[in-house]
């Protein structure tokens, strides 16, 4: 893998049909994201950032244009193939955590392993993997707790552990601090910062400029187009080790 490009999208459009009206959510977006980058995508509501997030996360396919993820064209894949890509290459962090409320933290983190296709992993190893993921977000002592017994910040940390457990190439965070108070939000941002410093690629959608400051690159969307693409020279709070070109 000499090519450091992780994401390459070219002339991606997404057009929704609302009744008889065509709505262009993405209007020919092209961009590259390099392995290890920490990218924030910003924009007002209706700018197309959620649509872009869905396409980057392989939850949706573009109407036209191509999307190469780690060299693989995922823009024309079947639902089945996309599910496998999501499982292997993408870890999601949602605004509302999206944990199974009846399941323990450990079971929630185990879920992506359950849907793995490549190779058998013993139950012992699975639990080991989930355990490691939880300890990396500082929740080892909460493994058996259910989401309803945890604070919002803790729940989001469980969600991060779930996103990490299959060692995906891309971490996609959609307004990760949107439901949290500023203190917990800062904690979450510091975890993302740490993941970035460990060499992981993080793409985060946010409308919060303070969150964007943690990133090393900020893309602004406006009416389905990229209006600004700024590489910040240094991330203000922490030094980065990511491969910035």
């Amino acid at each position: 893998m000499s090519d450091p490009t992780l994401i390459e999208i070219d002339q991606v459009t997404k057009i929704y049909l609302m009744g008889h009206v065509q709505v262009t959510a993405l209007d020919g977006i092209s961009m590259r994201v390099i392995t290890g980058e920490f990218l924030a995508i910003m924009g007002p509501s209706g700018s197309g950032k959620s649509t872009l997030m869905n396409i980057l996360g392989c939850l949706d396919r573009p109407t036209s244009g191509t999307y190469l993820l780690a060299g693989e064209d995922v823009s024309r894949m079947s639902r089945e193939q996309l599910a496998r890509i999501r499982n292997q290459k993408i870890g999601f962090i949602f605004q509302s955590y999206n944990l199974l409320t009846q399941a323990s933290a450990l079971q929630n983190v185990l879920m992506p392993i359950v849907y793995r296709r490549n190779g058998h992993i013993s139950t012992k190893d699975r639990i080991e993997m989930a355990h490691n993921a939880l300890s990396s977000v500082g929740l080892v002592d909460r493994e058996q707790h259910k989401p309803t017994e945890m604070s919002g910040g803790q729940q989001q940390r469980v969600a991060i552990a779930r996103a990490l457990v299959n060692s995906p190439a891309l971490i996609l965070a959609d307004e990760p601090t949107g439901n949290l108070d500023s203190h917990s939000g800062l904690e979450i941002m510091e975890i993302l910062q740490k993941l970035h410093s460990q060499g992981r690629t993080v793409v985060m959608i946010t409308h919060d400029a303070r969150n964007a400051e943690f990133a090393e690159r900020v893309i602004h969307l406006q009416d389905g187009k990229i209006s600004e693409d700024n590489h910040l020279a240094t991330a203000p709070a922490h030094a980065t080790t990511g491969g910035l070109t």
């Binding site: 996360g57 939850l59 999501r86 992506p112 359950v114 849907y115 793995r116 779930r162």
Partner: protein, 411 residues
């Protein structure tokens, strides 16, 4: 995805709503229990019938008046079309390969000894070979002889329990009893035989056939009915000759009654024919029950489909989360199909328990013989599984087709 994982996820889905799951299963439980109980009852009945028929005696042919013919003939006053004692004698005299012919003509009478009386006793006018053909032993005294027949002797032979009722443990031979208005001498008691088919042989009382003609035929009908008999029983020596004897009997009777074999107003049946008739009755009963069971299984299936659709809607967000973390449409379909299958099979299992328990209860309390057939358990289980898969498929497919974005947005 490992099977154990699939089962675990489906099991969790069900255990989240235990009462609802139980209510959903109720249709399947009832359906499966119905299948098992009903098959057990009809198998029990069938076993009783075939055991009874073995007890009726062996190698027997039954000659009876055909259904419907009797009334027509009677109004037309055509005496020629009744089965008579002479027919029986002719069969005995001219047909080879038979080891016994016996005649039965039943009437109902009150019998009385001293102050003890029994109402509506089945009085059978018959001939000497009766014990041999019907396979009943003599307990004491003797049976009706040819001499009794010829002389229209006023004698009576009691069945085992009738003798017990009238005389207790004392030996009744030589005692006088009243059968209707006629005073008869008890000459013998038959050994215990029990209930065979619908007949309790131990309650029967036997008198010479000719005595029925003379004393027990209501006089206005006597002229018309003459020496008419109910049934002629023929014991065939060799089982292989059965068909030959049937044909000979039919030809003989046709000749005697001046008709053709095709228009013969009598039926000549083997025991197998009787078994077949009885079995076809139970089979019809069983078919009806099968429909009842099928309907309750379908209703149970619709219940499962309904609850699975509710479950898919309730868990839309969960489905979205699973899809986001890598569940394929196949995984989701499998999860919900397994859940439906688990519901129906658990229902099936509870139904089997209820069915076996119910069958036991029926035989215990309902005094009804039941035989639980292993095949019926298998059948019930397989039907439950089919119901689960069939009615679970649509909801499972609906879940699998959900758009992950929509599903994640669902509240």
């Amino acid at each position: 995805m490992k099977l154990s994982e699939v089962l675990r996820i489906a099991g969790e889905g069900i255990s989240r709503n235990k009462l609802r799951a139980l209510l959903t299963m109720l249709g399947v439980i009832i359906g499966v229990a119905a299948v098992i109980i009903m098959i057990a009852i009809s198998a029990g009945t069938e076993a009783t019938i075939s055991e009874n028929i073995k007890d009726l005696g062996t190698n027997l042919l039954f000659v009876t008046q055909s259904m419907g013919v009797q009334m027509v003939s009677r109004t037309a006053g055509m005496n020629a079309n009744f089965l008579t004692y002479d027919d029986a004698k002719a069969i005995g005299d001219s047909i080879s390969g038979i080891s016994g012919v016996v005649v039965e003509r039943d009437i109902m009478e009150l019998i009385k000894y001293g102050s003890t009386s029994v109402d509506s006793v089945s009085i059978v006018g018959t001939t000497p070979s009766y014990p041999q053909v019907r396979d009943i032993d003599q307990a004491s005294g003797r049976f009706i002889t040819q001499n009794d027949i010829e002389k229209t002797a006023k004698v009576v032979v009691l069945g085992y329990s009738t003798a017990q009722t009238l005389f207790g443990d004392a030996d009744p031979v030589g005692e006088k009893i009243y059968v209707g208005d006629v005073r008869l001498t008890v000459v013998g008691v038959m050994a215990k035989k029990g209930v065979v088919g619908n007949t309790d042989y131990d309650e029967r009382v036997y008198i010479p056939l000719t005595l029925v003609f003379e004393k027990f035929t209501f006089s206005p009908f006597a002229r018309v009915q003459g020496d008419q008999v109910g049934t002629i029983l023929i014991q065939v020596e060799d089982l292989d000759n059965m068909d030959k004897v049937i044909t000979q009997v039919q030809i003989l009777l046709a000749k005697r009654h001046e008709t053709t074999v095709d228009e013969l107003p009598f039926t000549v049946r083997t025991q197998e024919d009787i078994i077949a008739t009885q079995e076809s009755t139970t089979a019809a009963f069983r078919d009806l029950l099968a429909w009842v069971a099928a309907v309750s299984l379908v209703v149970g299936g619709i219940g499962i489909m309904n609850i699975m659709l509710v479950s898919v809607t309730e868990r839309t967000r969960e489905i979205g989360i699973r899809q986001a973390t890598g569940a394929t449409p196949g995984d989701i379909r499998g999860q919900f199909l397994t859940e439906a299958l688990l519901l129906s099979l658990t229902g099936g299992l509870l139904g089997v328990i209820a069915g076996v328990g119910g069958s036991w209860l029926f035989s215990r309390i309902g005094d009804m013989r039941t035989v639980v057939l292993p095949n019926s358990i298998l059948l019930a289980f397989v039907s439950a599984a089919i119901v689960g898969i069939f009615f679970g498929f649509y909801p499972a497919n609906k879940a699998a087709q959900l758009d992950p974005i929509e599903a994640l947005r669902h509240e």
